[in-house]
């Protein structure tokens, strides 16, 4: 039973945390792709920007949350989402829109977004420094230990306060996005433009509006993902950048341009990563006595070492591109 608890803590909870963050990041990437048909490499640093806004606001008003009993960082999140959405729209106006107006190939847009990502990284570092800073400025990170009511179970299930917020916020964001895309006039127009931009225009849909709305949503979601990630660990200017590959893997695994696919892809990649670095020795240990004596269990039985975690999304990416180029859900072929 202790082993099961260990599994829950290290795979179920850890995988869901990683999966949620990848999923929210990947939704943004996939929405941008479905409307503008290019891979937006600056997405991770827009996530960092969102988290940095939360850090700034929380540092400026550290005591706001205490009066309500929520971490200040969470109260600042909506504001940071607004600022990040504004940044995303601004970046589009300044950098991508002129490129689109020239009718450039998607690859030029991709390179452009690489430039934007370097610029953002530099700017954020300039103001934040390079070290890690906790988003819990005045608040305390609550850690919940749930002891299971079974005989002989010593280890508790451990879940932290930001992880609970993460699950709740992910759920809310996904449901809100679903309702937006399927029920609202603007959301349907967005799907229509993703399907067929010329016909969308011929229907009277203002495609510039849809592009702006896409950036607002992608920016707001990026702020959520970046903040939740930084709450779970700490804020670092390069934290999100290292998620770029898994987030793109998630978007592609799910089927590019397919929001639900991005969610599924996020969890697939998140869990694959967690399972790959999980030490299976722990689960096998109870059966040690029934194993033949010549079979000695090595103390670390993970598929890959933690330091090589990044190969997992890479492997999944390659596997998907080889066996199912359109992704789990049928996305656009790139």
């Amino acid at each position: 039973m202790n082993e099961l608890v260990f599994f829950i803590n290290n795979v179920v909870i850890a995988g869901s945390v990683t999966g949620s963050i990848y999923a929210i990041g990947a939704i943004g990437v996939t929405l941008i792709f479905s409307i503008m048909r290019f891979a937006h490499f600056a997405h991770a640093d827009i996530m960092t920007f969102g988290a940095f806004m939360v850090l700034l606001l929380t540092t400026a008003f550290p005591a706001v949350g205490a009066s309500i009993g929520v971490p200040t960082a969470l109260i600042m999140l909506p504001l940071a989402m607004l600022l990040t959405a504004a940044l995303a729209v601004g970046i589009d106006k300044a950098f991508y829109k002129p490129l689109r107006a020239h009718g450039v190939k998607p690859i030029v847009m991709v390179i452009g977004s690489l430039g934007v990502t370097l610029m953002l990284q530099g700017l954020i570092r300039l103001f934040s420094g390079t070290g890690g800073q906790s988003l819990y400025v005045d608040d305390r990170k609550e850690i919940f230990r749930l002891a299971l009511p079974f005989e002989g179970v010593r280890a508790p299930i451990v879940i932290t306060e930001p992880q609970i917020y993460l699950f709740v916020i992910t759920l809310v964001a996904v449901v809100a996005l679903h309702l937006f895309l399927n029920r609202s006039r603007l959301g349907k127009a967005m799907r229509a433009m993703s399907d067929n931009p010329e016909l969308a225009q011929a229907s009277g849909i203002n495609t510039n509006t849809i592009v702006a709305v896409t950036w607002v949503i992608a920016g707001a979601l990026a702020a959520i993902a970046g903040t939740l990630l930084s709450l779970d660990v700490t804020f670092k200017p390069d934290l999100s950048f290292f998620l770029l590959l898994p987030i793109f893997a998630a978007a592609i695994v799910g089927g590019v341009g397919h929001p639900y696919g991005a969610i599924a892809g996020g969890f697939v990649v998140g869990f694959a990563e967690t399972l790959a670095v999980f030490n299976w020795n722990v689960l096998l240990r109870p059966f040690r006595d029934s194993l033949p004596t010549w079979l000695e269990l090595p103390s670390n039985l993970a598929f890959v070492g933690t330091e090589y975690k990044i190969v997992v999304p890479f492997f999944i990416l390659v596997a998907i591109l080889v066996w199912r180029p359109t992704g789990l859900f049928k996305g656009k072929v790139i």
Partner: protein, 226 residues
């Protein structure tokens, strides 16, 4: 009017006039510039010389969404539905600029194309060619246009569906909507046309009433297959 996709002209001096409630039919060989003509009217490409007037107002510098506001609807030759949207959502997009009309117009369009009722929650990409054409025309009708541009509405359809579509076009026109239509089934199309335009190499070759063109031996010999 002269115009094309870039600075090069595909249309070299076409001239067409259509009154408000008429059916105009454009016929001509492949590559004559028929689709290009419709796209030019709908503001999708450059007019390099000349002008396009709607109710006496110049419109050739207006983007498509403003033309929709002015009562123009366009059904392209290809890719004329949103494949992943349901039939109902496709139709709703047609009335994007008039959301208050959606309910009333949906009923009208379903009345007009009864086969769509049963399919309304199915993605348009899963429909047959004929049904898809109905969705495409329905989407354009949702905006209650006063002028409808149709690019080969019967292309690839069985004779049964073809007659159905021609029948619908007549009905739409009878309800007071002007039609400018490109057709390969020239004889059938000219039969319902008030005005006919035979286009070749981006220019009018023959322009007359539909009936006169059908009766003209020159037109018959070179463009209607004898």
């Amino acid at each position: 009017m002269h115009g094309g996709y870039g600075s090069m002209n595909i249309l070299n001096g076409v001239n067409m006039t259509l009154y408000a409630d008429e059916v105009g039919v454009i016929v001509g060989p492949n590559g004559a510039g028929k689709s290009t003509m419709l796209k030019a009217v709908f503001g999708l490409l450059n007019v390099n010389q000349g002008e396009i007037l709607l109710n006496g107002q110049p419109i050739h510098n207006l983007p498509p969404n403003q033309l929709v506001e002015r009562g123009m609807g366009f059904v392209p030759q290809e890719k004329n539905v949103f494949p992943s949207l349901t039939v109902k959502e496709n139709l709703e997009m047609g009335a994007y600029l008039k959301p208050q009309n959606v309910k009333r117009m949906l009923e009208q369009v379903y009345d007009f194309f009864p086969p769509l009722v049963e399919k309304r929650h199915q993605p348009a990409g899963e429909l047959s060619g004929g049904q898809r054409q109905m969705v495409a025309m329905g989407r354009a009708l949702m905006a209650e246009p006063s002028l409808l541009l149709l690019d080969e509405p019967t292309a690839g359809l069985s004779p049964l569906y073809m007659n159905e579509i021609f029948d619908r076009v007549k009905k739409i026109n009878a309800a007071g909507v002007g039609i400018l239509m490109v057709e390969q089934n020239a004889k059938q199309a000219l039969a319902i046309a008030d005005k006919g335009f035979v286009l070749a190499a981006g220019q009018n070759r023959f322009t007359d009433t539909g009936a006169a063109l059908l009766a003209d031996p020159d037109v018959a010999k070179s463009f209607l297959g004898g």
